[in-house]
Amino acid sequence: MKGIVWLASYPKSGNTWFRIFLANLLADRPEPVDINTIRIENFAARTTYDRALGWETGELTIEEAFQARLEVQKEQAEEEDVFFKVHEAFRDPVTRVPLFSRAATRAALYFLRNPLDVAVSYSHHRGKDIDNTIARMNRTDAVMASAKYELGAQLPQPTGTWSWHVRSWLDEPEFPIMLLRYEDMLDRPQVVFQAACEFAGLPSEPARVARALAHSSFDTLRQQEQAKGFREAQEQRPFFRQGKAGGWREILSPEQVATIISHHGDVMRRFGYLNTDGSLPGN
């Protein structure tokens, strides 16, 4: 099938897990796929973008490179079975211009995770302290891979605040998107992953989904990473760390929890991460 399937999320929200599941689902082999050979790339990877563009983005200003973005997507959508991981917000948080082409889209899956857990996991991934990450999650001008003084492997990716990110994807009218909560993916994997496959037009036979899930279980991924490393890890810090929900309870201070709620309470309430009375579920 033509058209792009977007695997969209704020960082550290289950996107890579799904990507590895998908690689196993498509390969459909008795053995798990090597996590370092996953071909499902980030849309912002320059080599892929440049190929569809016809120029190297390293020769262009960021504005020139970004102007062609939707047309690059339309070119890529002409191929069969195109999947991209993306961390950009649907709309640029500053200019509010859409960063994704509807015409090029087959479907989007949006991975959502409790921002209290995101703050912990993302801090670990970035190698920064938690307060620094909490501040970043509340910055409108937050951009991933924004290095100006070297040529990064990826184009800059505007995320905006965590709340902006969630809303920009899920509130885009008439956009073919399905929400997957990380907590539900952990809790009821067979049901959630199978529904996602059906939505995105992927193979969804229960046995095939079950096998791909087993091949992308947290233990399998961590074993592979321990044995051979993972090329997407940052500076040798383990990428597959805990793979669970609620870990924030052992890490975040009450002040840090209060700050995150003050920044993102509305969106947290909407998706069941905060009770209507402002208390935390499970407390």
Binding site: R51, E56, E59, Q67, E75, E150, F230, R231
Partner: protein
């Protein structure tokens, strides 16, 4: 660097290239055939330069390119003209290009549209107000790549240094350090043939040969600093970009040189040290295809079969190694260069 001068066309007829055709279908033969069948250029633009083994007549001077004598036979022309908005006969397309046999249209909205025709001509239609520097720098990227493909020579995405045994090329994706590496070898006293594009053709004896490019590196500020220079002393690649030129006129190897070794340099998150490993012929072919400059133009230009034949010939003729280095943190430049120098001297 000497400037080429604006001069009226000389009355003396330029020397014609020799017209015997050798049996091997090498790049020079293609040039000769082109010279025989292509129409003569009318109204040659006034400036002459030499790059990638070609003599160019250009509408403005290209200060980055070595000059060429006014009476040298012209291989290709850069001129201003009208460029269509679309190429109706295109076979393949991208977001900013259309490719058809003998023709490539490529553009950047805020700078110019370029039409590259039959390996002989690049026609530029600038956007009003575009800076000459941007027109020149972008011309030397995608349009130049298409011109080289159309001429039947092989442009690789590589930097090239001259060693006592011959030319050594470092192929890499942008941002993986090929310019920085070549600039580091420059500091170690090696002469340099090319920074970004290595143009390979086969000489009369069938040996792969690299044509000289032009004497400057394009570097990002991190590399400039790592090489011990300051960006404030350097000219910008384009006015609004943090990318700089480091000239090496003193160390330019201006003559072609046989290609003796190819390296594929990859920065990887999962590498903790510099590692070299030989490549099998099929792997070489795969990497040569990956690192062909503007490979996405090749099918549309109708050059796929010829391109594969050239890659096959090159893969059979030249040893190649894969080089993994850590992507994060330090570039391990000296360590990388030591490992490579030990390898290409062996």
């Amino acid at each position: 660097m000497a400037e080429s001068r604006r001069q009226p066309r000389t009355n003396g007829k330029p020397k014609q290239p020799k017209r015997e055709i050798s049996p091997c279908s090498d790049a020079r033969t293609v040039d000769r055939i082109l010279a025989l069948v292509a129409p003569k250029f009318d109204n040659l633009p006034p400036y002459r330069h030499r790059v990638y083994g070609l003599t160019i007549a250009a509408w403005i001077p290209f200060p980055q390119l070595p000059p060429a004598p006014m009476d040298a036979p012209v291989d290709a022309v850069f001129r201003l003209g009208e460029v269509p908005a679309e190429l109706p006969e295109f076979k393949t397309r991208g977001a900013r290009f259309r490719a058809a046999p003998g023709k490539l249209l490529v553009w950047i909205d805020s700078v110019a549209r370029y039409l590259v025709v039959n390996g002989r001509e690049i026609i530029i239609q600038p956007k009003p107000g575009a800076e000459d520097n941007d027109l020149r720098e972008l011309l030397l990227c995608s349009p130049m790549g298409a011109l080289l493909h159309q001429r039947g020579v092989l442009p690789l995405h590589a930097s090239v240094i001259a060693t006592p045994r011959g030319a050594v090329a470092f192929m890499a994706h942008s941002g993986h350090g090929k310019s920085t590496l070549a600039a580091h070898f420059h500091r170690r006293g090696f002469k340099i043939l090319a920074d970004d594009i290595a143009v390979v053709s086969f000489d009369g004896a069938g040996r792969p040969t690299v044509a000289p490019g032009y004497p400057q590196f394009k570097l990002w500020p991190d590399s400039v600093t790592e090489l011990g220079h300051r960006t404030t002393e350097l000219r910008r690649f384009r006015a609004k970009m943090e990318k700089f030129f480091l000239a090496f006129a003193d160390a330019f190897h201006a003559e072609p040189l046989p290609l003796v070794r190819l390296y594929v340099v990859e920065g990887r998150n999962d590498a903790t040290e510099v590692k070299l490993g030989p490549l099998s012929v099929p792997d070489k072919l795969r990497y040569l295809l990956t690192h062909t400059y503007r490979a996405q133009y090749v099918p549309g230009l109708g050059r796929e079969k010829a391109h594969f034949q050239t890659l096959g010939r090159l893969a059979a003729a030249v040893p190649a190694m894969r080089v993994k280095r850590p992507a994060n943190g330090k570039f391990h430049l000296a360590q990388l260069a030591d490992a490579l120098a030990a390898d290409f001297a062996s």
